[in-house]
Structure formats: structure tokens, C-alpha cells
Symmetry: C2
Subunit: 313 residues, 2 copies
């Protein structure tokens, strides 16, 4: 399935293409910065590579002697040429120290697609109708760890230092780039409370949009069930006002627990009494088709006979 453009991008691309040859080979360039007579699109600095969706990708190098006005003229001419060839879009990759070229590109209609660290990417949609380019990351992922000790029926809870209301909740925080959900839960629990734990299951997923703490993007908040491996709390005072092992039923009935914490506590109570298999999402590992890497997959427990399709008919 991935990489795959947003479906509409491809539909618009194919609708707009005027018989242009969509080649995956890099465009040839006449090399280096040239004078006014050369086709700007063939000047080295505007060399574009055609991607397999029919867009043109331009990576700016170190262009210290090129002024912004000359860049804008060249880019303007290149855009006309790409448009006549039926390209769907232009992607412009700009190293941060070459950012004087951003405003000239914006004057020609480019806008930011994304930026991180020392580079930004701008796009210009050339196809029909509104832009159907694939977007960038839209969600932050926050993970909380519900550390439940089955032998004492106690659950580890905290109160934030920084909130207006002192509500009980589970320790947690944003996942690091590249970090798996369960690892975030275990790490955050340890950083905030000093408690060591291990992943047992995924319990719940919450999705919120236009999140104030996510720069207006969306938030995926995932609660995991963890098993404690230590019991002595070492509170991080910068983040937590309080931390304690609370009786699970007490948390499930507490008025000063956030709604999602309350719900998770009640889910855990049900699982504790009727069996965790009733509430858990288990974790499995499968191979990715196109990269050969592995990924984590979460779903309800599936009997081995169904996993293997042995004797199932």
C-alpha cells in the first residue's frame, strides 16, 4: 500500500496530463549556471527529477552567487515549461542556508509542505482543481502506561504539576520519533515515577483533532497495560505533584480522574475480574512487504489455529 499518493492526487494527475511523457529518468541538464539564452529548466540549478507520480522534484544546492531575482526569473520560466509538459506538481527542496529563495518561490505560488531541522520543502500544484498532493505527518502520538499490580490490585497514578486542575491520570508523554508505543509507555513511566515495568497490552486509543498541545494538529493518545517490575516510587518533582499506588476500584470511582483515565480504570477492573483477555489488544510482529523490515501489529488475541489457518475451513 505504501508509498502511495493520496488517491485524488493520482486521479487529478491523470486527468490533467496532456499526453506528456512521464519518465522516471532524471531530466538532463546542460550543466551549471548559464546565461539568459539557455533554457532555465536545463540550467544545472533547476534540474528536476520526475517522480513516478508525474511531479518534478528540484533540490537546490549551494548557490551562493545566485541572487534571488535571477532565481525567480529562472524558476518562473521553468514552471511554464513543466506546465506545458503536463507535470502535476513541483517539489522544491531548500537547505536552510539557501532560504533566501523561499520568498521568490512563494511569490510564484509555492507554499510550504513541511520543514524540519536544516531543510524545507515547498510545493506548487500544477494540476487541475485544488491541490491533491499527499500531506505531511498529521498526528503526534502520546502514550500512557497503566501500571497495574494484580497481586495488590493497585494502579500507579500521578497528578501533573502543571495543570490547572489536579486530576489523577497515568504517567505518559509524547513518543520519540521512531519509538514503538510500548517502549514509550515504559520509558515515560520510568522517567516520571522511577517505576520499572514491562508491556502487556494495548488498552485504548483516543483521537483528537485541532489539539492545542499539538500545534493544532491531531493527537493519538494510546493507553497501555503494563506490569510492574519495581514498586518504589521516585517521583520526578518537575512534572508530578503526586504519585501513588491507588486501589483500582478507588480510581474507577474517583471524581477527580480525567474521563479517559476513569474509563481505562473501569476497563482494567473488568479485565481484572473477568480475565484480561476480555480487554487486551495483543502485540504481534509482522514483516513489511516492500522493505523487509518488521512492524508491530495490535489486535485482539487470535487463536493460533486462525493465525496459521490450520484445520480452519
Amino acid at each position: 500500500m505504501w508509498p502511495l499518493p493520496r488517491g485524488g492526487y493520482l486521479r487529478a494527475l491523470l486527468a490533467g496530463a496532456r499526453g506528456a511523457e512521464l519518465s522516471a529518468a532524471p531530466r538532463r541538464a546542460s550543466g551549471g549556471l548559464s546565461g539568459a539564452r539557455d533554457s532555465p529548466a536545463e540550467a544545472g540549478w533547476l534540474r528536476g527529477e520526475v517522480d513516478r507520480f508525474g511531479g518534478v522534484s528540484v533540490r537546490l544546492g549551494a548557490l551562493d552567487r545566485l541572487d534571488a531575482a535571477a532565481f525567480q526569473r529562472g524558476l518562473h520560466a521553468a514552471i511554464q515549461q513543466w506546465r506545458s509538459e503536463g507535470r502535476a506538481a513541483v517539489w522544491l527542496h531548500v537547505p536552510i542556508l539557501q532560504s533566501r529563495f523561499i520568498a521568490p518561490a512563494a511569490a510564484l505560488g509555492f507554499c510550504f509542505h513541511h520543514a524540519e531541522a536544516d531543510s524545507s520543502t515547498l510545493t506548487l500544484w500544477l494540476g487541475q482543481g485544488p491541490s491533491r498532493l499527499p500531506g505531511y505527518a498529521t498526528h503526534q502520538v502520546g502514550v500512557a502506561g497503566a501500571v497495574f499490580d494484580e497481586s495488590t490490585r493497585k494502579i500507579l497514578v500521578v497528578q501533573d504539576r502543571n495543570k490547572l486542575k489536579n486530576m489523577w491520570k497515568f504517567p505518559g508523554g509524547l513518543s520519540e520519533p521512531g519509538e514503538d508505543i510500548g517502549d514509550t509507555a515504559v520509558r515515560e513511566v520510568f522517567e516520571e515515577t522511577g517505576i520499572r515495568s514491562e508491556f502487556r497490552s494495548l488498552l485504548s486509543i483516543r483521537q483528537q483533532h485541532s489539539h492545542p498541545g499539538a500545534f493544532g494538529k491531531s493527537d493519538m493518545y494510546i493507553i497501555c497495560r503494563l506490569k510492574p517490575r519495581s514498586f518504589t516510587i521516585e517521583l520526578c518533582p518537575h512534572e508530578c505533584l503526586r504519585c501513588e499506588w491507588m486501589d483500582l476500584t478507588e480510581l474507577a470511582k474517583a471524581a477527580n480522574a480525567t474521563p479517559v483515565t476513569s474509563r481505562a480504570a473501569r476497563l482494567l477492573l473488568y479485565g481484572h475480574r473477568e480475565g484480561f483477555e476480555k480487554i487486551d489488544l495483543t502485540m504481534d510482529q509482522l514483516p513489511a512487504v516492500y522493505t523487509g523490515l518488521f512492524y508491530k501489529l495490535y489486535h485482539r488475541e487470535l487463536p493460533d489455529s486462525y493465525k496459521m489457518m490450520t484445520g480452519v475451513d
Copy 2:
């Protein structure tokens, strides 16, 4: 829990503050662009607002008569001042047409935090050790719809047009900003196959990192169980090579289905035979504590007695 800085951000902030007064009030400015003698940090264009985590936020306005070199000198002086005041970080918000100020800021150590549409945000960490600023969105969210017709035991499957291998999978695609998971599934199924459906449950979540189709960010892929409301396929030829209603057992045994599709088919088979309550994650709606908005929450079915804590003790 939100908005909440990454825990380490706050810890480093408090460790580094040298008794600086952390006020939430905007810094006063002496107004307008001024000559060399005025403190640059008090010049109007470098007015910074102190946020509640001790960082300074500067929003650049229309500064058409300010050249990049003067900006860099002023910013350099301001940074010294903010550093002496124990500020943890500087956030610089730059409208795209003012992007000539980005490279000068980068020369002083700023880097991109994020950018979108017509604005970019850069940050400079002033605290101790490596930056502990909260990151930006890290995940794209893709949703697939497994449309299963219980009466015929058939499941709707597609083969992509654009892939190297023709593997059976469920229709799906990236969620739009602000779009709920179930709505994405229903929309994508309709766009690709013409089939109308409705959300029943969440089945599975997959998390992948360094995803090639996600500009190297992470990918959350969620499979939903949908109930069909129409049955006549109207294939979108730009995206799908094939689309059909396949017998579920056949899909569960097919060699040319992606591993995650295969697993989902087997999960569905188990649910079809033993009851969907064994596999479903149900959807509920809860109020957000701080905004009063609602959000969607997914977890295993929880009996009402536990939801309400009536008679549960």
C-alpha cells in the same frame, strides 16, 4: 495531560533557569524599528512573548525595510539578553514572504521546527544539554476499510494499479486533517470502489517507522470493519486494477494477500464464526477535559455496569 511539554523540556528548563522571572506577560517594547543605540530586544520587531514553559516566542511581521544583516545583528543581541534572563528557548515564527530572515537566524543556530502553507517556525534551544523542545507531528494515519457482508460471507478487496506486485488488500488511504478514523475508511472505500458502507468497529492498528511513503516519518495504519450498504462495484480505474467481493475464507488462505490483510481476514473469520465481540474494538465518545470538545475513544466492549460503576464494588 495536554498541552504539556515533553517532560525533559521542563526538567531542563528548571535546571537551567538562573532565578529568571518567568512571567506570562508579553515583554514590553519601546516600539518600532530603531537605531543602533536601542536595545534590540526592545525594538518592536523583536518583541517576544514569554510562554508558560519559559520560552520566548517571536512573531515576525511585515519588515520590508529591514535587511537581513541588520536583522541578524539585532537577533544576536536579543539572544544574549534572553540567555542572560534564563530563557529556555526561542521560537521564531516567520511568514513565508519574510523568509529572507531564515538563513540569518540559522547562522545563529536556529533550525526549523515545522512549516506549513504560508509560515515556518524555527527554534533555538538555550537550555542545558540537547534540545528538549516538544516535537511536531510524527505520524501520518492511513485507514483501510474491511467491508464484510455477513449474509454472503464475502469481503471487498482490491488490487492497486500502482504496485510492483498485485496483492489483495482492503481499500484505504490517508486520513484528511481533522478526519476521524471511521470516516476515512468509509470515504476511501467509496472513492475507490463505489461501495457505500458504515463503520462497525476498529480491528487492528499497525505502526511503522521511517516509512518511505511518509517522507521518512512514522505511519499508523488502522483497519476498520465496515458493513456494506450497497453492493454494486464502481471501480476507480486510476487507483485499482481489480476489485471484487471475495469469499472470506479464500482471502484468509490467499498467498497473494499482504501479511496484514491476511491477518485481518483471519481475524474476521474468527469473529464471523465465534462472534464479532471477540475481535471488535468499539467506538465511544467522551468529553475532553480542557476544551469541552468531544473525541472518539476505541477499546474493547465494556459492559454498562462497568461504564457507570453501578453495582460494581
